[in-house]
Amino acid sequence: MELLMAIVAGLIFTAAIYLILSRSLIKVILGTGLLSHGAHLFILTMGGLGGSSPPVLADGATNFADPLPQALILTAIVISFGVTAFILVLAYRTYAVHKTDDLNSMKGNDEHD
């Protein structure tokens, strides 16, 4: 199960990198969103999936799922949610000011603005 999930996370990363390398700003942002989803799935997998066992740790329990990765993911999801919201608004403002969402035409030389 862990192996399958690792492969799925890898596929998500592939798609994310494909999107990030595109020229359209909105696709790049979708790519970063996908990248963080991949990272979250990856944390869950790396912590061990634990099957159907309960996430508790009592004295003497031998069969339990590790609850820590879930706490980490929760934090990471909230952060990536906030950042994605911010970057979408920023992208809209940039589009409104620059009249383009093509990253190629947003190159700029610092000495000739």
Partner: protein, 493 residues
């Protein structure tokens, strides 16, 4: 158990929240910012004294015993960095009163600074690798606001790049933490150090080490990951640039130093050689950039790269002189870069341009500014007895003790390039025929000079007073070179 080490994090955070209620009252915002930062500085000096007297201070949040709960750890290294961060922020804030403009002040400029300081100090103080990620995000989100505040055309364009680079590096950070967790099964940094020592750093740990270098290297701007820095840092106004240049890159340097002295110390030939080579390449790249540009901001931004390379070269030597030099130079560089950015900010206001070719003869109209710049420039290049000298001397000594002749000569040669690059500013801007300039408001000019003079004076004091400061630096280096003292302090309770 002591709450003191949380104060430099909590006080700015508290004041940032209070400031949100005074959006329109710029005056109250300014006063509260100064009060908040001064209170934090007092707390951080108390913390330094406490650490000097009683050794490493730790706190476990919620009293969950260490390695299960989140630990906050303050050793001398982090206490020194926390203090210099707060001092620089105070002077940059005072500088902002007269230079940032009321428009920006009314749109949460000061709260953003204070939130950023919360994140920076938190990252310096935390003893938990995932908590470090969270504090990185706190400072990054505040920095996103600062870099885009004002919404000029160029700012928007560069912010997009800055944010994309940092979002991707954050995703890498999470992935690396996942790897680390699956190998050692813990997130507490002291515990990770102990576990890695037990299993003796197999190949996978070295891979994780390189991934962490990638993550922190993007923040610190080491070669070849600095590509985003010159463009993005030049976009926002000068006070924000000063904060970013003096503080944010140093958070990356701190994180590299911490992880490369606490975790990855069992295969120095591999990890630290890579670190050293990258540090030297960073210096070369910085030198080329510092000489190539005629833009004031760009010259100083590329000087940041040179300093990062010098510090990391000292860290990669892993001997006493090198580490002491790296710590001494790190704090020197925070002070002097803050001062230099403020000075070039004044020059840009006075002349109305940041292009050196359009300046000239400023010494006739602004003599004090010229001499101030010259002192700061000599300090940056490391002319004794100014503050850059001692740090570089120790780093060079560490390099020679390790037999790194070539690398050490690169460090020495880079000092000359640094001197040349800043003297070029002096020659072009202050000598020559005066260029007609708009008369500036003398009151504003004086208000902007005050924090710049204070920061230069501090850096001169830091250099001249080495004798008094050195015991603290030596304490900090001692903990870094002896990870077991850090580990014991955290895990003892």
């Amino acid at each position: 158990m002591i709450n003191l080490l949380l104060f430099p994090i909590i006080i700015p955070f508290f004041f940032a929240i209070v400031l949100l209620f005074f959006k329109e009252q710029v005056r109250i915002q300014r006063i509260l910012t100064v009060i908040g930062l001064s209170a934090s500085i007092v707390a951080s000096f108390a913390l330094i004294m406490k650490v000097k007297q009683d050794g490493i201070q730790t706190l476990t949040l919620g009293s969950w015993p260490a390695p299960f709960g989140i630990s906050m750890v303050s050793d001398m290294f982090s206490a020194l960095l926390v203090t210099s961060t707060l001092v620089i922020t105070l002077f940059v804030s005072i500088y902002s009163f007269s230079s940032i403009g009321e428009e920006r002040e009314r749109f949460f400029y000061y709260p953003a600074i204070l939130f950023m300081i919360t994140g920076v100090n938190g990252a310096f103080t935390t003893g938990d690798i995932f908590n470090m990620f969270v504090f990185f995000e706190v400072l990054l989100i505040a920095s996103y606001l600062l870099i885009v505040l004002g919404g000029e055309k160029r700012q928007l364009r560069e912010s997009i790049k800055y944010i994309l680079v940092n979002v991707i590096s954050s995703a890498f950070f999470v992935i690396t933490i996942a790897y680390l967790y699956s190998v050692v099964g813990t997130l507490n940094m002291a515990d990770i150090g102990q576990k890695i020592a037990e299993i003796g750093q197999p190949g996978i740990i070295s891979v994780i080490g390189i991934m962490l270098l990638l993550v922190f290297g993007i923040k610190a701007g080491i070669f070849p990951l600095y590509f985003w820095m010159p463009g993005s840092y030049a976009a926002p106004p000068v006070p924000i640039l000063a904060l970013f240049g003096a503080l944010l890159t140093k958070v990356g340097v701190y994180a590299i130093t911490r992880t490369y002295t606490l975790f990855f110390v069992h295969d120095l030939a591999f990890t630290h050689t890579i670190l050293m080579v990258l540090a030297l390449l960073t210096i070369v790249a910085g030198c080329i950039g510092a000489l190539a540009y005629f833009d004031l901001k760009q010259i100083i931004i590329y000087n940041i790269l040179i300093a990062i390379g010098v510090i990391l070269f000292g860290v990669s030597q892993m001997n006493e002189a090198g580490m002491q030099g790296a710590i001494f130079y790190l704090i020197h560089d925070m002070l002097i870069k803050g001062a230099l950015f403020l000075i070039i900010g004044i020059m840009i206001v006075v002349t109305g341009t940041s292009n050196l070719r359009e300046m000239g003869g400023l010494i006739k109209t602004h003599a004090s500014l010229g001499w101030l710049f010259l002192i700061a420039a000599f300090g940056l290049a490391g002319i004794p007895p100014l503050s850059g000298f001692v740090g570089k001397l120790l780093i060079v000594q560490g390099g020679f003790e390790n037999g790194q002749l070539f690398g050490t000569i690169v460090i020495l040669a880079s000092s000359l390039v640094v001197l040349l690059s800043v003297i070029r500013i002096f020659v072009y801007a202050f000598w020559g025929e005066p260029v007609p300039i708009q008369p500036t408001n003398r009151k504003t000019y004086k208000q902007m000079m005050f924090p710049a003079v204070m920061l230069v004076a501090l850096s001169v004091l830091y250099g001249v007073g080495t004798e008094w400061i050195f015991p603290y630096v030596s304490d900090a280096a001692h903990v870094l070179l002896d990870p077991s003292s850090y580990i014991n302090a955290v895990l003892k309770e």
